[in-house]
Amino acid sequence: MSTTSTQIGVGRAESRPTPARRSFWTSRRRDHLAGYLFITPQLLGTAAFVLIPLVLVVWYSLHEWNVLAGTFTYVGGENYQSLLDDRNLPAVLRATALFSVGLVTVNLSLALLLAVLLHQRLRGTMLFRTLFFSPVVVSLVAWTIVWGFLLQDNGGINAMLRLVGIDGPNWLRGEGTAMWSVIVVQVFKNVGLNMVLFLAALQGVPSEIYEAAEVDGAGRWRQFWRLTVPLISPTILLTSIITVIGSLQVFAQIAVLTQGGPGTATTVLVYYFYQQAFQFHHFGYGATLSLLLFVIVGALTFLQWRMRRRWVFHES
């Protein structure tokens, strides 16, 4: 549409023998203005809820804000120094890394496996696709609360295990099981979304390529690694970025299931920031922790984006 309008505009200009002065509002400028007006609502929202808060968080991180006393004192880099002195922070970062690595690995592997299985032309695949996707549309907190009941020591999971003679652990209270329990709850919640994205990508791979590979003697496993994975690599990149960012922002599951325990085994960075800011009223230090999270998310996303050249087979 814009191309046509521009050509018409140029045509008119040429038809005039001596254009005295070109109007400021050229077609191009009008198009630009219209475009900016269209994105203004989004820009205003982004400014109000992303950019301004981001600047404020930096400002808060340079202050000590006592909410109850109503005092707001400039402390310079003190909160950043506290990051280095905080003896809980190494354990928190370890828990965050474990959660992210666990979640991304299990989620993407399972989503790809399900997508490949449900890509087959078999009876009932629609039913299973619906079943695996349905947790995505369930309320996160409701989902987590139900899993909390199931994972109790006398809950549904251990009751089922007892039926087959297994004495299950206290999933959410055990040092070694709590984090993996939270990971599994989160994987089951969102694996359907990645599965659907992988399914869409798989459906975009032309079947002739597989036929040609079969003629060349490639087995199913070889076809998967040499054809399927490279051809859906842009989707793998997208899902991995989404999942990594999502894993670093996990909060509700921790708050509902473990409250960071046992000890600090499941105290991930977002939950720790929440504790510092909203429970202990260290808003300045909380803001500093949230900036640390921002830097980590930004760095990992940048890294993944840079690495795409190495392992993303093709991009449109």
């Binding site: 549409m1 309008s5 009008r30 203005l33 219209a34 007006l37 269209f38 203004t40 609502p41 205003l44 804000w65 006592n66 909410v67 109850l68 006393a69 109503g70 109790q152 020591d153 006398n154 809950g155 206290n170 999933w171 959410l172 209270r173 040092e175 409250q259 960071g260 325990g261 046992p262 000890g263 600090t264 504790q275 909203f278 429970q279 202990f280 009223h281 808003f283």
Partner: protein, 424 residues
Amino acid sequence: MKRKVWAGAAAALVGVLALSACGGGEDASSGPVSLRMTIWSANEAHLALFNEIAEAYIAAHPNVESITFDPIPFETYTTALTTQIAGGNAPDLAWIFESSAPDFVTSGALVPLSGKLSSVDGYEYDDLAEAPLSLWQHDGELYAYPFSTSPFGVFVNNDLLAAAGQPTAAELVAAGEWTWERVIEAAAAVHAATGKAGLVIRDFDYRNWDNLSTFFGGWGARAWSEDGSQCGFTAPEMVQAMTTLHEAIFDKQALPGPGTNADFFAGEAAMTVTQISRASLLEDNFAWDLVPLPAGPAGEYAVIGQAGLGVLRQSDHADVAVDFLAFFTNPENSAKLAQFFPPPRQSLLTAQTLAKTNPKLTPEQLQSVVIDGISTGVVKPSHAGAAEIAQEVRAALDPLWTPDADVAAVLADVCERIQPLLAD
């Protein structure tokens, strides 16, 4: 076509501007007054009584349009309240836990009350007992009114005790055997005989450890010294108490283990340690009794949970809010509130007076648990920076809740973690 594009863009912009215009607030200082009080109870009986008192106040004060009671979940109450304060959306009045009393009272977040309360006709400020007020005072000024000074007692399901061949709680009290040792024995017997839980320390849930003060108080143990500067978890009496508790949970199965829920009021446990305000949950579907906390090696003792009511300095109508607080807690309304929340008023702390508003409890139960408890009780642990200290203790105590825990080592770790915070 181009005109349509422009029209669409303009419509989108107008829409946004219209929406942003809708966000404009009204001037809070003009017009009729609306008050909001945050509370952590959503109990219908509690709310009905609060609304009844509020309606009486509104009827006598035409400038007050409405008084809203805003229940916030117990578990996240203080966090939600401080977030509201941080966001400039503080309530006019708020309940405050005893654990966070030092933070609120010393910070300047609350409006002083002594002057107003002592000057209101008929308030009878001198009737307030001195001991329950102390936690809520700073430099001689009262910053929150302890509307609930509620001792902990033990609700007992005598049907379950009988099913396990155990004497009733009253019989044990009469025989002078109402001790933690005997209670743990009875609780273990109930679990062995019925499969139900023996004893539940309500709201503890292996996280809210401050409720354990109702247990370790029997050994004379305290979480920290009276001045709050020294950790008490490594004291011999604390180690002894926690060792007894650990054995009761993991060896004798007298208490349900971590992650196992049992609700006394649904008939799932033989005994529960809690406050009398929970009596409203009783439905008379089993024979029950209320008795004081069992004696420990250190003898008889009592533990009190308190809740304060304060006016936030951020309130646009602090004067009206203080006036309503004075009405809400005057002698007449205190007598009504006493059915759920034992008041700090000495004139109301008699078995006969409390019995009028506590139909479920006998004068004997009220005397032994409430009145005697208030006169001798120790308030649950509180300290400046309570939330951070509580979190450190919770995290450090977690290793204790496993069968093969080294009790003394875990408690030593608790002190190592909280001593720097106590000293701050």
